[in-house]
């Protein structure tokens, strides 16, 4: 389901990632700042590897040899950012429907996240937990084939966080969404029943395994 084999270099980071797994849900685990978010950004298409390929859910998203580089908007990715990145100039509803296609699962996602009452609110007036739910809804509403979750629930209290992860996990399984999550906490990975892939630095190069 996931086959990554690429190198990525910028002035502050050198990366050589090889991952091959049939797991539907994987968790990239490693020290803070090691480059986990960069891997998600590369998969989402907002950073470009130097060489290699990216295969996820039976689709080649990037291949330097075959000059394939699918633009981020066509990768069918839902990305829940660590810093949420909600559009503060738009209402909650406009945020959620921003990327929605004609055939989307808007009603189901609003139900799932229980955010019906928030829809006409201004983003600036949401609490941390509410913002979190909106960012999840925004990523899921276009029914993506790939979901990227970047340490998104650290600001929420434990009980609420467990509920949210459970809901999200059920949705991922039901809709067969290939999910790559980044987390400091292995306990989160267990809640998702995710395969854990360690991201570490070896001789200055970030590697997986």
């Amino acid at each position: 389901m996931i086959h990554l084999d690429f190198t990525y270099q910028n002035p502050s980071l050198s990366m050589q990632i090889k991952v091959k797994t049939k797991s539907q849900i994987v968790c990239l685990h490693g020290h803070s700042g090691v480059g986990k978010t960069t891997i998600l950004n590369i998969i989402a298409g907002i950073r470009e590897p130097n060489h290699g390929f990216i295969d996820i859910a039976g689709r080649r998203l990037f291949d330097s040899n075959k000059k394939i580089n699918i633009a981020p908007q066509f990768r069918d990715v839902g990305y829940i950012f660590q810093d949420l990145r909600l559009f503060s100039h738009l209402s909650v509803k406009d945020n959620i429907t921003f990327g929605a296609l004609k055939h989307n699962n808007y009603d189901a996602i609003i139900d799932l996240m229980d955010i019906d009452e928030l829809l006409h609110k201004n983003i600036r007036n949401l609490s941390g937990g509410e913002s979190q739910k909106v960012s999840i809804a925004r990523a899921l509403v276009k029914n993506p084939k790939i979901l990227l979750i970047d340490e998104s629930f650290h600001a929420i209290d434990k009980q609420y966080r467990d509920q949210l992860i459970k809901k999200l996990h059920n949705h991922i399984i039901e809709n067969q969404i290939v999910t790559i999550l980044v987390s400091h906490q292995l306990s989160d990975a267990k809640k998702y029943s995710a395969e854990i892939i360690k991201i570490k630095k070896e001789k200055g190069v970030v590697v997986a395994g």
Binding site: G45, Q73, Y79, R85, F98
Partner: protein, 222 residues
Amino acid sequence: MITISDYEITVLLLSLKVASISSIIAFFPSLLIAYFLARKNFIGKSFVDGLIHLPLVLPPVVIGFFLLIIFGKNGLVGDIFFSTFNIRISFTWIAAVIASAVMGFPLFVRSIRQSISEIDPKQIEAAQTLGANKLKIFKKIIIPLSKKGIITGFILSFSRSLGEFGATITFAGNIFGETQTLPLAIYSSLQDPDSNLIVIRLVVISIFISLAALMISNRLSK
């Protein structure tokens, strides 16, 4: 009660017409160029940047002279307009609009460019992952988040037009009812020793309009 003479009304309305139309005309090119200067790297960027800012540093009369060369009756573009459509551009109100648009253009571009530069690239990345193409990002993210810069740029361009003198008198002349805007009317009245009162009244009108434009700008950009 203070009354405004027909002469003053004619000058005032022409000034407002020229300032409004020139700012509207300058808006789309300013937005596009500001976007490219703020977000893109391309060969010749410094040259384009410098070219856009020329009206700020050159004497306005020089700009007027260039406009005459381009749009004058025998100019590069003016000749085509005159021979094809029998339309004369120089020394008409259209020339006053062009002169104002050119002089206000760098101010418009600078203001919008600043706003676009301040947009967090992460917002654009988020929009990309949500499936938005470049046009949608431009319409839904770039323009709304540059609103302050657009409004400020519009008012700066509008105000620049109200004060525009050198390029206008060179390219459009000083024709009452056609190209004689407020500064040109003040200049003409200053030539006549008996028109001191008219000068003062025109100056007061200029101050009033400029202040009103700035107040509207402050209110809209909040």
